[in-house]
Amino acid sequence: MSTIIGSEAPGGLVEGPGRGGWARPVIYAVLVTLALIWIVPILWAIATSLKPDAETTVAPVKWFGSKVTLEAYRAALDQGNILKWYFNSLITTTVITAGTILTTSMAAFAFSRMRFRGRDALMWMVLAGLIVPFQALIVPLFAEMDSFGLADTYWGIILPQLAAPIAVLVFKRGFDALPRELEESALVDGASMWHIYWHIWMPLSRATIAAVGIFTFVHAWNNFLWPFVVTSAGSLFTIPVGLATVQTSYGALYAQQMAIAILGALPLLIAFLLFQRQIVQGIANTGLKG
């Protein structure tokens, strides 16, 4: 937790002797102030969620109510469908992550390790796919899913999110960096390409799998637009889509609104605290944006 990238002052300026004595306290002051500003919205949401609902809409604001209560959480869990949303998010996100890792690493393996007709053309398609703005295609994509009978299904949420050309490039870069000699002896022994892919290259690519996996997971878990478009039944809502209905359906019950927001944020916040280093390094190495 304490050593994420660059804990040893990356690119840190080196000061000459006797210089910059005044600079460091100023820098600390600026950083602490901004970090507080950044964290205040989350703290305020937590503080609100622990108040009795009647005490949230009073001016001037107070950080603490007359008592600390989990009443809002109980109410949110009781009447909300958040457990169902957790389940939907978990199942779709898990399948998307596993499916993306499998399909994109297989394609990347072929691009990195094999010669075949059409290789260049397919590689160009992957590169072209990088610049296609998925968000601009929701209407034709929905019409297509509807004609397949996949609107309002888990598969309707999952399948389009598997098309991640960037993951092919990340895996290809990882495979390209591995020494070719590793597969030669296996080839002499007559091993199949599947064997080489599954038993040699994939176990050696744990870091790449982790980077792609974490980012696909975060991206899919937080994806709002596509699940919002493709589902209309409340029973299929994921966390982001379900929480989007809270603002209108809960009205001015802000303690409950914040309680459910905290509950919705919790899984990834915990995952982030546990895997902070991997997440941050994954971003730094791949430039993958969620």
């Binding site: 990356p10 949401a45 075949f116 703005p133 982001p240 809270v246 209108t248 914040m258 944020a265 971003i283």
Partner: protein, 318 residues
């Protein structure tokens, strides 16, 4: 005995087959297509085909509730004269213009400052990056609460400091800025981390050598850090432009699905969404999708040229 002699002629071709298989490297066999097939089936069905489909459907007067007739280019002439479409395109461009400068500059300044302190680095990274892992609906729930008039935290502090209240979400001219502030808070950490990674790649010896030669921290910043960081700055700028052009989620949710005060915030994707899913005009929505698609691709290609000129290796979108 007989069975052994019978098996002999069979054994020989089998040996020949394996010999041939060995001489023919499996790495150049058509099996490669099997490896690429799962990805490309998904890719063609869900990324490539929708583009073709948008172009084809845009030439029809098609409705999601049934009925379709050829109309040629009339959807395109309609969008040329649709002020709401161009307003939406402008809102997307305006959001991009407002959001890119702070999201490129502020994380850079903060990253430079964080690398100058020795203690609490992890705490700063935690604070600045944590919002990035929140789902957009959580972000909007929190900020909608912060932006409330009267008992909202921001307005409450403003009035106690003697300022007038701001109608953050309901006033034209302010509503879009409020969305930019939310976006800045939410996605700041991503660019911040990219800058930290870029800074980490600058060899420490350069600074040590410069310090020995008597260079001040200011000189080190101008002569070493900024020049060596320029490709990261270009990369962050390009990724941010492309991400900002796809604005929809937080603007749509902050305005509860509406067009914003006096139709001042509705971005392009929202207008396309409404044409498709509330008016069921698939043909018209497809025409607008295709125009927006081409606009984003054009900007992306220009940006990628800039990346190449700046000598950055990584080419990433989304």
């Amino acid at each position: 005995m007989t069975s052994a002699t019978q098996s002999l002629p069979r054994a020989r071709p089998k040996e020949e087959r394996t010999a041939r298989r060995r001489s023919r490297d499996p790495r150049s066999s058509p099996i490669a297509l099997v490896f690429t097939a799962p990805f490309f089936i998904v890719f063609v069905l869900f990324l490539f085909w929708p583009v073709i489909s948008a172009l084809r459907t845009s030439l029809f007067d098609e409705s999601l509730v049934g009925g379709s007739s050829w109309t040629g280019l009339s959807n395109y002439t309609e969008l040329l004269h649709d002020p709401d479409f161009w307003a939406a395109m402008w809102h997307t461009a305006f959001f991009t213009l407002l959001s890119v400068p702070p999201l490129v500059a502020l994380p850079l300044v903060l990253a430079l400052l964080v690398t100058r302190v020795r203690r609490m680095q992890w705490l700063f990274r935690l604070a600045f990056f944590a919002p990035f892992v929140l789902p957009v609906s959580v972000v909007v729930l929190i900020w909608n609460w912060l932006y409330q008039p009267g008992f909202g935290l921001i307005n409450s502090y403003l009035t106690s400091l003697g300022f007038a209240e701001v109608n953050w979400l309901g006033q034209p001219g302010v509503a879009m800025i409020s969305a930019v502030i939310v976006t800045l808070w939410w996605t700041f950490g991503f660019n911040f981390i990219l800058y930290l990674a870029g800074l980490q790649e600058i060899p420490r010896e350069l600074y040590e050598a410069a310090a020995t030669d008597g260079a001040t921290p200011g000189q080190q910043l101008r002569r070493i850090t900024l020049p060596l960081l320029s490709s990261t700055v270009v990369l962050v700028t390009v990724l941010q432009i492309i991400a900002s052009l796809k604005i929809f989620d937080q603007v749509y949710l902050l305005q509860l699905g509406g067009p914003g005060p006096e139709n001042s915030t509705r971005p392009a994707i929202q207008y396309i969404y409404e044409a498709g899913f509330t008016q069921y005009r698939i043909g018209y929505a497809s025409a607008m999708s295709f125009v927006f698609f081409l606009a984003v691709i054009a900007v992306t290609l220009i940006c990628m040229r800039l990346i190449r000129r700046a000598g950055t290796k990584t080419v990433v979108t989304e």
